[in-house]
């Protein structure tokens, strides 16, 4: 199988370049459960200067997000047989490259932290847990599963243009996760914080986030729900 991988080592290279690799795995064989990450690790045996992040190799940690044939995804859960050759791999778009496929996620996490992604409840904690009914808990489905891999936010043109001001789909999904939580007491403050032409309203429902999310979550729907709550609050 043929691969074309984005290479950039700031210590040696003045500009990034694409490097070709070939692996001795046939396309038919690769259908037997081999993932893109397996291929990348084989390439790394050939050329140990290739740098990438990886950890759990099963789509839970979100480390190995990258741009695969023009589309963001996790290498560890992308089956090789679904990919057209040569497989073109690039770092996540819109973030500064540290080296090869590794990007600097600082801006992404800054936006994530800005929505206060934790429960705010000033009541004295009860003896056991803060309880929710099964119906209340069901509202958090499709929100809490986010692994913060960054595929959605770095696929969003609004984030490319305003990464310092627009929270981005991942951050907004988490903002709604706490707005939707019946145990949280800061709903109004959270809505106040997001009612901003940049922080929330840069979203123009492009829906790249929904298209690429490796966990099949729907940030656009969450953003729509935030807007609905703001409208309800206003009228």
């Amino acid at each position: 199988m043929k691969f074309r991988i984005y290479r950039y080592n700031p210590d040696k290279d003045t500009v990034p370049y694409m490097q070709d690799y070939e692996l001795d795995i046939r396309h038919e064989d690769s259908s037997q459960g081999k993932m893109l990450l397996d291929a990348l690790l084989l390439i790394k045996q050939q050329d140990d200067s290739l740098s990438l992040r990886k950890s759990c190799r099963e789509g839970v940690c979100g480390s190995d997000a990258m741009n695969i044939n023009g589309r963001n995804g996790l290498a560890c859960i992308t089956p090789l047989h679904t990919l057209k050759e040569p497989v073109e791999l690039r770092p996540l778009p819109g973030l500064p490259v540290i080296r090869d496929l590794i990007v600097d996620m600082t801006q992404f996490f800054k936006q994530y932290h800005s929505v206060k992604p934790y429960l705010i409840n000033n009541d004295t904690p009860p003896e056991t847990e803060r309880l929710q009914s099964p119906e209340q808990r069901a509202h958090l489905n499709g929100l809490y599963e986010c692994i913060l891999c960054g595929c959605c936010t770095t696929a969003c043109p609004s984030f490319w243009w305003n990464p310092d001001k627009f929270v981005g789909p991942a951050g907004l999904l988490q903002a709604y996760r706490f707005i939707a939580d019946t145990r949280d007491q800061a709903t109004s403050e959270r809505l106040d914080d997001l009612e901003d032409p940049y922080r929330l309203f840069r979203c123009h429902t492009i829906m790249n986030c929904v298209d690429v999310c490796p966990k099949e979550l729907n940030p656009t729907e969450a953003i729509g729900n935030i807007k609905d709550m703001m409208v309800k609050r206003m009228v």
Binding site: K165, R199, K227, M230
Partner: protein, 115 residues
């Protein structure tokens, strides 16, 4: 002046809502007008004049155009916010767009009621 990234202008919801509502108004107007044109295959200058001499048609046409201008203002402002970074230049463009749209509004009234 310090150069810090600031957000928190606390607007956006109203504009977003206006854009949605004006979009619906424009869609309804277009469908009704298209329906009329299909039902009335024979069109000439006199039929057109007769149509636009009705107060209802003029009023809804003006409503359509006002919706279009509001919609355009929010859309153009969004584009400028994305692509024009210096605040001064952005403000000048905003003012120019508002002036142009105000002129279009006056022009629209003149066309609709001047026929």
């Amino acid at each position: 002046m310090v150069n810090r990234v600031v957000t928190g202008a606390h607007y956006g919801l109203r504009d977003w809502l206006i854009q949605r509502i004006t979009a619906v108004l424009m869609a309804v107007y277009c469908v009704v007008l298209a329906g009329y044109l299909v039902m009335q295959p024979y069109q000439d200058y006199d039929v057109w004049i007769a149509l636009f001499s009705s107060l209802i048609v003029r009023t809804f046409s003006l409503l359509f155009l006002l919706s279009l201008f509001f919609h355009a203002w929010i859309g153009v402002r969004d584009i400028v916010m994305d692509y024009v970074k210096p605040a001064g230049v952005r403000l000048v463009i905003h003012v120019l767009v508002i002036l142009a749209l105000l002129l279009y509004t006056i022009w629209s009234v003149q066309i609709l009621w001047g026929m």
